[in-house]
Amino acid sequence: MNEINILIGGQAGQGLNAVEGILVKFLKKNNYYIYSSKEYMSRVRGGINTVTFKISSSLNCSLRRDVDIIFSISKGVLDWCAKEGRISSKTISLGEEEYLNSQNEIKLKKIPINLKNVIEELGDKRYLNTAVAGVISGLLNTDKSLITEVLQNIFSGKSEKIVEDNKKAFYKGFDISEQLSSQIKLATINQDNSVAHKLMMSGNDSISLGAIYGGCNYLSFYPMSPATEMASFFIKNAKLFGLVVEQFEDEISVINSAIGASFGGARSVVTTSGGGFDLMEEALSLSGMAEIPVVIHLAQRPGPSTGLPTRTMQSDFNLALYAGHGEFPRIILAPASIEDSFYLSSKAFNLAQKYQVPVFILTDQYLLDTYYLLDRNNLEGEKPQKYYIKADLDYKRYLLTENGISPFAIPGDSKGIVISNGNEHDEYGDTTEDEYYSRIMQEKRNQKLFSIEAEALMPKFIGQEKYEVLIYSWGSTYFVIKDALEIINDSRIAFVHYSQIYPINKKSLEYFKNARYILGIEQNITGQFGEFLKTKIYKPINRKILKYNGRAFYLEEIIEAIKIFMGETYGN
């Protein structure tokens, strides 16, 4: 597939987001498929942050390592990209002359662009970002007049002059790069009219909107990357959708308040990351014991401890699986994609209510900060189901039932009262140490896991009926593996991807029986999910392809690693 991979790098606070915002909208208007992904440092000013754009003629949702164009808007970008391994023999770099210097010798074509002078004419440094977007747009086959509408949209509510001046800046950049076309040969990308009907949405917005679609109406949080964005979305839209949002004093109060809200009938979510979740463990166990639903958006970043706050990892599967003392059922979902984020996020609330258990949505910085075009039809959620009854005067919050699920009632909704308890209890919810209840209540809670398991989502399977090598993965690595396999095009390889990682659907274990070799791909150092799978599949895992440097998998890396395995196993 033809594609152009463009990286823009600069310091934090320089307005990379502004360039990204303009480009995404402009390129979409020009009917190109776009994919965009960010990586950034944990600082507010300085450092190097980068955005990678991919422009293609059809859907394309995986991160590519080698970039065709690097646009530097500050010093140090080329050195950074070289260390990150993003520069190939074909990479061309653009930017002000001084930003094209590097400390280390880097072999690549450099094309200086003088935008500073141009911008001085307009009298405001901020127009530089618009001009940069103009230069990049000029390299592609685009209709520059479409920028007017984009700028009107971005600066809606601002003066006509601001739109006009930005347009001038964009045109200046655009005109400069038209003159460069002889020096820069890029792949030809076909435009596609259907792009106009597509949506451009980030993983974060999809998770947030999916939750609201699923009836979520209470969010508590304490700021922590990369989980805060979901809270920001809720805050921005609290009035419109009638959402209660509060930043609490710490993560302990965050989850305890969410549990209190759920006790009162809210559909509550907490959004947090590793360290923040660590503080929530005791209350997770309370949710398990008191059988009060709560959804935990656990946005993963590398640990341990503060780790790399703004980077990506899949190292908290074990944390979600084993957190909390005592034994109680839970559900762990890990969206494969932006579309899947919407669906699973909405579904999480039904699952939490239906089984009265904690439900995790495990995302990561990569998924949350990535955008691509998607079909409106693929953004489907699960509508909220009503799982509560009216309490009568003899209501038993923990009524013993065959499947362990007791009808949930909400305080104040009827004449009966509701008693929840984190201590072991009888059916009414009153504390007791009676041997019968001490035993039967453990069984009742545990019993719920069987129903949960019975409706666990099947993983996605891609492959022929007969295959030799089975690759497994979970969460946000779906597209990069799928795309790699399409390129490798080897019918001996099949792929199974889990979006519900606990409990897993038992029928999916059949896939492993049929495989001669098993290959795992995860973004952590121990292959946590693979270790978990081993206890179910009773087979060795022949190789784990693991990445744990805080950067998302690149398409090239996956292709190379799979090819190496195939070469070693079957000969070249």
Partner: protein
């Protein structure tokens, strides 16, 4: 005297596990009375408690109840109030619960100012865990933590609350039943975060702060202008005697009345339906670009 409406009839609600003579019995009776006299119903009242002897309260009352975690009754009660502001939420805990494990919630609860009532059974000792030092144990008291006697100055929760401009601050001694009831009633009726520190003798582990000791060392506040924070603070700093009564009242912005989620929507959260059309429109408006 009512104590019928809130008298529970559940199998495990009758055998109360407090020690005979414990001050908690009287607090329970006073609370049930206060609720009934104020005209509340069990179904629109919720008792949210932490862990400790005080934390057992929900089991001995006929009302909605949540016996949660040590130290966490305030956040749990806050979430409940935010989910359904129509509920009368009473948060109950011990001195260890509220002033040690949950101190951050006490401070921020005061700051957030949701309309809840916080009752702290202050027996100046850890009861349930058998007699350790609490944040309010007096210097010189011999505890299992400090067999030679506590030598660190205790926390003064009343002064602390006043210093934070808490919406309603009172201290009572449960030996004064009628006064305690009046104060609890006023605390419940007060709109905002109402805090009542209740001296509650622990007859098993606290041999210093007995009924007689409290009688001798407390003095009922007389003729105080409860809007004067400086006078209230001054009085609160007094430890010989300890003043009991309402120290301070102020009406402040109530959290749940001012959040976005309750501006255009008034229903408790569980009654809100998802408007799929609104979401669809939102998607059209924001993501087509």
């Amino acid at each position: 005297m009512g104590i019928k409406l809130f008298q529970p009839d559940r199998p495990h609600s009758k055998e109360i596990s407090w020690c005979p003579g414990c001050g908690n019995f009287a607090i329970r009776l006073v609370l049930m009375d206060a609720l009934e006299e104020l005209g509340f119903k069990p179904e629109n009242t919720a008792i949210v408690s932490g862990i400790g002897q005080a934390g057992k309260m929900p089991h001995y009352i006929n009302a909605n109840g949540f016996h949660s975690l040590h130290g966490r009754a305030i956040p749990v009660g806050t979430g409940l109030k935010l989910a359904n502001p129509n509920l009368n939420v009473i948060i109950v805990g011990g001195d260890g619960d509220m002033y040690s494990e949950g101190m951050e919630h006490f401070v921020h609860g005061i700051k957030r100012n949701t309309n809840v009532t916080v009752l702290v059974h202050n027996n100046q000792v850890y009861g349930l865990t058998k007699g350790q030092t609490s944040p309010t144990t007096l210097v010189g008291t011999k505890t299992s933590t400090h067999p030679g006697g506590v030598f660190i100055e205790p926390i003064n929760p009343v002064a602390l609350a006043i210093s934070l401009n808490c919406s309603f601050v009172a201290r009572t001694f449960i030996g004064h039943k009628e006064e305690t009831k009046t104060i609890i009633k006023e605390a419940i009726q007060h709109e905002g975060f109402s805090f009542v520190d209740i001296f509650q003798p622990c007859v098993t582990f606290n041999r210093i702060n007995t009924y007689d000791w409290y009688k001798e060392h407390t003095k009922i506040i007389n003729n105080l202008d409860t809007s004067d924070i400086k006078k209230a603070f001054d009085l609160a700093l007094n430890t010989n005697p300890y003043y009991v009564g309402i120290f301070y009242k102020t009406l402040k912005t109530v959290f749940e009345k001012n959040i976005e989620g309750y501006k255009d929507f008034k229903d408790p959260l569980y009654k809100r339906a998802v408007d799929t059309n609104l979401i669809n429109q939102f998607i059209e408006d924001n993501y087509r670009l």
